[in-house]
């Protein structure tokens, strides 16, 4: 009985290693190719949109019409760039 148990454990270990090597590596590789471009795109667009919306709201609060929306558009673009750089760094770490 003891021998059976050991045998099962080694077989399980071999199977697990094989599974981790094949399946996980394969799915990670494929995943990063298909999704990464779209992931970067939405990061940029979302930050620009949020920045512009904040500028629009602040403009209507302080009655400073086109100025804050302009400033926050560029701040939003900068935030988008930061987002993209961070996402790209994370993607490189994953690979």
């Amino acid at each position: 009985m003891m021998k059976d148990n050991d045998d099962f454990k080694t077989r399980l270990k071999i199977a697990k290693d094989k599974f981790n090597k094949d399946f996980v590596a394969e799915s990670n590789k494929r995943g990063s190719f298909v999704g990464s471009a779209f992931r970067l795109g939405t990061e940029l667009v979302a930050a620009v949109a949020v920045g512009t919306i904040i500028g629009f709201i602040l403009d209507s609060w302080f009655d400073t019409k086109p100025w804050l929306i302009l400033i926050f558009f560029f701040l939003g673009s900068a935030a988008g760039m930061i987002n993209i750089i961070r996402t790209a760094k994370r993607m490189q770490e994953e690979d």
Binding site: V34, A46, A79
Partner: protein, 244 residues
């Protein structure tokens, strides 16, 4: 036969109209398919964990695989401190995945192709993560808006940019899932329409595209659920381990 590719996204009422204090609470096809997804998940996990053998049958194997997959993802991205949130991230991933997959069936409705659904999920995550951050670190949590090593002159500018970047998280999280699902399903329907309108002579080319796109859509359905869950883990990591 409806050939409008956007027709599939229409929400309509199923059953009687329910009004509650001026708010329309009727049961719609969106609620129906969310309910179906939830039932599928519960049934599957119930059957998968019923027997608990050492050598599992197929259903138990898939359930355990799913559990290991999420557990590994959480420990890789957010560390041991994120263990208490396992059940939330597991439910989130499985719900998005099954909603996406149910949407792949003909005549069904894709719940995640509506921005209101994904935005509510993303906002919930955003608010929850922010609250967790404040509970764990108090006002020190605000230091994620102030990166280290920035000259004092630039600090106000960088802080505003960081706040915008932080606020853009729920938007990018929800738009990504919604746009992927909606674009894919619209494309499938458009190619399906080409098959019908070109008839038996010319319809073979769009049909082959349709078949390929279906495969791609199943991959996207899985991938987007995965990305949604992993980004939740990453945000959670930021809240749990400051400056990591």
């Amino acid at each position: 036969m409806a050939t409008n590719p956007m027709h599939q996204f229409q929400v309509h009422r199923v059953g009687p109209e329910i009004k509650f204090g001026g708010i329309d609470l009727s049961f719609t096809n969106a609620s129906l398919f969310m309910f179906i997804s939830a039932v599928i998940i519960c049934l599957f996990l119930f059957l998968g964990t019923k027997e608990r053998k050492i050598i599992p049958n197929k259903m138990q194997l898939i359930s355990e695989l799913l559990y290991n997959f999420i557990a590994k993802m959480i420990s890789d991205t957010a560390g041991v401190k994120a263990k208490p949130y396992f059940s939330f991230i597991f439910s989130l991933f499985v719900f998005v995945l099954i909603c996406n997959m149910v949407g792949m069936l003909p005549y069904s409705f894709t719940v995640t192709s509506h921005i209101i659904v994904t935005l509510i999920m993303a906002l919930f995550i955003f608010v929850a993560v922010t609250i967790i951050g404040f509970i764990k670190h108090g006002f020190k949590y605000l230091s994620i808006f102030v990166p280290s090593g920035v000259p004092a002159l630039l600090l106000p500018l960088i802080t505003v940019i960081e706040i915008i970047s932080y606020l853009s998280r729920p938007v990018s999280l929800s738009v990504r899932l919604f746009a992927n699902m909606m674009a894919g399903h619209t494309m499938l329907k458009v190619f399906g329409g080409f098959v019908v309108s070109l008839g038996i002579l010319g319809g073979w080319l769009p049909l082959s595209f349709s078949v390929a796109l279906t495969g791609l859509e199943i991959l996207v359905a899985f991938l987007q659920a995965y990305v949604f869950a992993i980004l939740t883990c990453i945000y959670l990591n930021d809240a749990l381990n400051l400056h990591h």
